[in-house]
């Protein structure tokens, strides 16, 4: 490793911001490393912890396995399925568990050592049978052993990092990001990684600033160095000098004041200056995020993504009880408000582990197209949702993604009704008032929105996909990043058409793309007539503040101006003018609050 920069202060490295934010902390170099077993016994007081570590590791490894195994089932891949099933049984072997616990209790072994020895016991026994049909398969056992030990050690390493940690790593997995979040990690810097990777989606959901593609950082940083992650400037600064660090400290302080200031709007209604209500809902991907709904006073869940249930392993089927559990957590964490559950929206960038690559995945097999080809998957989703909906009557909306023609919707509707009938017959309480709606993200749907309106209960506009399909711009492609313009008049026209159809047919229209969390965009959407905006919960107060300082007429005027723009630079000018005026309003507001 090249280390000529190892002591130089203030080294700046470029990266790509995956999750915005600014933090300063202690760099902790994180790598998965090799397994090493510490044979020393631990104090007796720590023995219960060692057992707990085993259970946690088994749970994490098991989650990954279950999904892989289901996945193999769905593809009729019997070899993989057999291996997975056997490994799953090994993981949950009751005798293995007993032996691990005994080794911990009786010999005071660390979890890793106990797991290693328990597996070794069985490996030796099987070897001694001298039967080649078993001995040749010992790799399955070793694989499970290593996965468990890895997991135990990862957890231990991360937990030791402390609250100021900024992780520096080559790459991170979704599970690792969740573990970071639970241990209070401040930021994540990766040398590799793509913008749409699941790890960055989780980091965003958890509110952990993240920079990826910071290629040479690992060559300059040492474990324990002070490090700044500047998501706004897309920079990483290693060992900042006094001047740099104090200027960043000032910015961070200002940010904190801003957050504190936003707290005053938290309990106020989400409405414009003139009193028009705009519902601000939460986009939720993970169970861990559910607490944020109440914390930031989001009004229910405008988008409950179920895709993340597939994540860690990436199969195309899901365990129904796991889905039910996830929905249950979401409902119980959102008071008595509506919960909009979106059916699986994998495909395109989210499709994993599928061998046959599609030439145009975004125009390919995704969303409802997959669900209709994999009925058992659709049915398991509908069953999980219906079961939970029955426990919380009147609170459910189901959102069907990637609809491009009406037949697809009618098919799903029929499946829903069939499922409700089946459950009723089995005596399961069912809510017949569950609303079924579609994502408006394909231009043909927006153009024909009136044909859909008589059949659907609500529309939800997915701005990310609507933008990329309307403008023919791949949002993940850096070469054309500047062409990706969610506020392009063509996109806004489609949104406006949807709103009009909604008014005409008396159907709610929501926007659930991340666009809604940009205050300027949120105002424009409200100006076009959108009354439900769904976003990452921690951004709710910021949007609410913007709405509360504008009159509906004023917002409408801005929307119309943007709708009439013919170039990007005209739009940027309008945004800049608005920004200036808004800063003044904010200043007045701050003064008002201080004098109160």
């Amino acid at each position: 490793m090249q280390e000529e920069n190892a002591h130089k202060p203030n080294i700046t490295r470029k990266g790509i911001t995956a999750v915005t934010g600014l933090v300063m902390g202690i760099a902790r170099i994180y790598s998965r490393g090799n397994i090493n077993i510490n044979p020393d016994p631990v104090d007796e007081a720590r023995l219960p912890d060692e057992k707990k570590k085993f259970r946690q590791a088994r749970k994490t490894v098991g989650m990954t396995m279950e999904r892989l195994s289901d996945f193999a089932d769905s593809r009729n891949d019997s070899d993989t399925r057999d291996i997975m099933n056997a490994q799953y049984e090994i993981l949950n072997d009751p005798e293995l568990e007993t032996m691990v616990y005994q080794l911990i209790d009786q010999k005071s072994f660390r979890t890793e050592k106990a797991i290693y020895d328990a597996f070794q016991h069985y490996i030796d026994l099987i070897k001694s049978t001298d039967k080649s049909f078993l001995v040749s398969r010992l790799s399955d056992l070793r694989d499970m052993r290593d996965r468990l030990i890895h997991n135990v050690q990862q957890l231990a390493v991360i937990a030791s990092f402390g609250k100021d940690a900024v992780m520096v790593s080559e790459d991170v997995s979704p599970i690792e990001v969740i573990t970071f979040a639970r241990n209070g990690v401040k930021g994540i810097i990766c040398t590799a990684g793509g913008l749409t990777s699941h790890a960055s989606i989780i980091a965003n959901a958890m509110g952990i600033p993240m920079i990826i593609g910071a290629k040479s950082v690992l060559r300059t940083v040492r474990d324990g160095d002070t490090i700044i992650l500047d998501g706004y400037g897309q920079n990483v600064i290693v060992r900042p000098d006094d001047e740099t660090s104090s200027s960043y400290t000032r910015v961070i302080k200002r940010q904190k004041e801003e957050d504190k200031f936003l707290r005053h709007v938290i309990d106020k209604p989400a409405e414009t200056l003139c009193g028009t209500r705009i519902e601000l809902q939460a986009n939720i991907d993970f169970e861990d995020e559910v607490l944020n709904i109440d914390k930031y006073r989001a009004e229910g869940i405008g988008l409950l993504r179920t895709d993340t249930l597939l994540m860690n392993a990436g199969p195309l089927t899901m365990d129904r009880s796991r889905q039910e559990e996830f929905c249950q957590t979401a409902y119980s964490g959102s008071g008595s408000a509506m919960v909009t559950v979106r059916l699986l929206d994998v495909g395109g960038d989210k499709l994993l582990n599928i061998k046959s690559k599609e030439a145009n995945p975004f125009l390919g097999w995704r969303g409802v197209r997959i669900l209709l080809d994999r009925r058992e998957l659709l049915q398991s989703q509908l069953e999980a949702i219906c079961r939970v909906a029955g426990r919380y009557p009147g609170r459910t909306r189901i959102l069907v993604p990637m609809i491009s023609n009406l037949e697809e919707f009618l098919e799903v509707k029929k499946e829903l009704e069939d499922m409700q009938g089946t459950l009723e017959k089995r005596g399961v309480p069912v809510d017949r008032k569950v609303k079924l709606g579609i994502m408006v993200e394909v231009p043909s749907v927006a153009l024909q929105i009136r044909q859909f309106a008589p059949h659907v209960d609500f529309f939800s506009i997915g701005t990310n996909d609507l933008t990329q399909y309307t403008l023919a711009v791949d949002r993940g492609n850096n070469l054309i990043a500047s062409l990706y313009q969610p506020l392009h008049p063509a996109v806004l026209t489609f949104i406006s058409m949807t709103v009009q159809a909604g008014e005409e047919f008396d159907i709610p229209v929501a926007v659930c793309g991340e666009l809604a969390s940009d205050p300027f965009a949120a105002l424009i959407l409200a100006g076009l007539g959108i009354r439900e905006l769904s976003m990452t919960p921690r951004l709710v107060p910021k949007v609410k503040q913007a709405l509360r300082l504008h009159d509906l007429e004023e917002i409408k005027a801005i929307s119309q101006k943007v709708l009439g723009c013919s170039t990007r630079s005209e739009r940027e000018t309008i945004r800049a003018q608005w920004r200036e005026a808004y800063e003044l309003k904010l200043k007045e507001e701050r003064l008002k609050i201080k004098t109160l």
């Binding site: 057999d82 056997a86 799953y88 049984e89 005798e95 049909f133």
Partner: protein
């Protein structure tokens, strides 16, 4: 408690796949399940235990079920042995 003698019929013997089928089936029932072979007695809900038996085609085993649902459990598990773990290809 009930017992029943079975013979391993499939050519490949009890390797990982049949063993996981046995465990999967047996753990659906509440009854305790043990397998006797050459004087060993192992927990039949443990895949590792089953593997250590290294039972090949023709091996005779005794299944032992003990619990409220022992009859049905025995029937289901014994039938796995009798149909060669549904492995016609072997």
């Amino acid at each position: 408690m009930i017992k029943k003698k079975v013979t391993v019929q499939n050519a490949a013997g009890i390797h990982a796949r049949p063993a996981s089928l046995i465990v999967k089936e047996a753990t659906r029932f509440e009854s305790d399940f043990h397998v006797h072979m050459y004087g060993y007695r192992i927990n039949g809900k443990s895949i590792l235990g089953l593997l250590t038996l290294a039972a090949e085609q023709g091996a005779e085993l005794e299944l032992e079920m003990d619990g409220p649902d022992e009859e049905e459990a025995m029937e289901r598990v014994a039938s796995l042995f009798n149909n060669g773990f549904r492995m016609s290809e072997e």
